[in-house]
């Protein structure tokens, strides 16, 4: 996607005839891409659902394929409809920070997965008597 999609563009009425024609041609070209992406998204949806009915033996394989198709679809939407394949650095910087904090959040959640609240039934297994805290 060209920068025509990322920057505020003057309205065609304010341009010269040649510029307007070039701009129109550029946008018209992108419209074809949008239609192709739309068809790709529909095909991805059909593929995901078809996979469900095929019943693969391996559950991890099923999950991997389903999430892979979802990721490809997400790339199509973000890349073309949201114009991320040719955006300004500012937006990439925002997304980089988002990815960093998202990864951090997921890491903290995974890290804390086995940390269960003291004093609950999940503390070192069910129905375990907790030692008396004599400091209190």
């Amino acid at each position: 996607m060209s920068n025509a999609h990322t920057q505020a563009q003057p309205h065609p009425h304010t341009h010269s005839a040649a510029a307007v024609q070039a701009h129109a041609h550029d946008v018209a070209k992108h419209v074809k891409v949008y239609i192709a992406v739309f068809l790709g998204l529909l095909a991805g949806t059909v593929a995901t659902v078809a996979m469900y009915y095929v019943h693969l033996d391996s559950v991890p394989l099923t999950i991997t394929i389903a999430l892979f198709i979802a990721t490809v679809k997400a790339f199509l939407v973000a890349g073309f409809f949201m114009h991320l394949i040719s955006e300004k650095k500012t937006i990439y910087a925002i997304l980089l920070a988002t990815a960093f904090f998202f990864a951090g959040m997921m890491y903290l959640i995974v890290w804390g997965r086995d940390e269960v609240p003291r004093g609950t039934q999940y503390w070192e297994g069910r129905n375990v008597q907790l030692p008396v805290d004599k400091t209190r």
């Binding site: 990322t6 920057q7 505020a8 992108h30 949201m82 500012t90 920070a97 904090f101």
Partner: protein
């Protein structure tokens, strides 16, 4: 006072301000949905296989709704492209389709929700379980409702198939794997009912996270539809006075709409298929 950089790009960012604003907002949305997705993953991973229902959602309806949302996503970007070409009529036509798709999505989701609110599971005192519909299809009944209504027995239309794998002893007159069994009504004495729940968040962890994720997503669809409808209707007069600024507004609302589509792209396989 004039708001700066609504049309022209700001020199340091290279973008008009609203675009930076919407991307910052979308970044916060990624964290919101990301947190909920991580909750889903941990609940799913920690759940025993027999405690995580499968096949309770209607896949053809979910697939259709996915197609509806994808269609709305392409019409949003085509509407914006039409404005870039100076074609306001086409913009209105495409955004009309977008609004119809948004309403269609919410309508279909409502039907799905209604189906869940009138679908029940019974846990009997002898350990048997069954799913199905209560005569008259009432909404939101639970064990307490039976006590309040002072009912002696419940007329229940059991499902031919139970949802657990491996299956739990099913008291509905048909075992788990038997397809095509008759939906004959059975009378269940209330004294034998240990627990009754509709498919609502209180039913199980699965429905808890299902309703949290899909309801939050539906709220986003509703909010996006309201903004798009406002730009289609009363706010569209800006096109006559400030066409570039109006086009930018459409782009920003479109970015939000695509994000809503993106979230659904992951929600659909995770909740309906896996």
């Amino acid at each position: 006072m004039e708001i700066p950089y609504t049309v022209k790009a700001r020199p340091d960012t290279g973008l008009f301000n609203a675009k930076v604003g919407i991307w910052l907002f979308l970044a916060s949305e990624v964290m919101l949905f990301g947190g909920l997705f991580s909750s889903y993953i941990f609940l799913r991973v920690a759940a025993d296989d027999s405690a995580w229902p499968h096949g309770l959602l209607n896949i053809p309806i979910g697939t259709f709704n996915t197609a509806v949302l994808i269609t709305s996503s392409v019409t949003v970007v085509l509407a914006w492209a039409s404005l870039k070409l100076g074609n306001f009529k086409k913009f209105r036509m495409y955004q009309s389709v977008t609004i119809l798709c948004a309403l269609g999505f919410l309508g279909i989701k409502s039907i799905e929700y209604k189906d869940k609110f009138t679908h029940y599971e019974i846990w009997k005192t002898n350990g048997e379980r069954m799913t199905g519909h209560i005569e008259g299809s009432p909404w939101f009944w639970d064990t307490e409702t039976l006590r309040q209504k002072n009912m002696q027995e419940l007329t229940f239309h059991p499902d031919p198939k139970f949802y657990f794998t491996p299956k739990v002893k099913h008291a509905g007159g048909a075992s788990g794997e038997e397809h095509g069994a008759k939906h004959e009504a059975v009378k269940v004495p209330v004294s034998q009912i240990k627990r009754l729940s509709a498919y609502v968040p209180a039913h199980s962890t699965y429905f808890g996270i299902y309703f949290t994720l899909t309801a939050l997503h539906a709220l986003h669809v509703l909010a996006g539809a309201i903004v798009i409808a406002a730009l289609w209707g009363p706010l569209a007069k800006m096109w006559r006075t400030e066409p570039e600024r109006f086009t930018n507004r459409i782009e920003v609302s479109g970015l939000f709409w695509h994000f809503v589509d993106l979230v659904w792209i992951f929600l659909f396989p995770v909740l309906y298929l896996l």
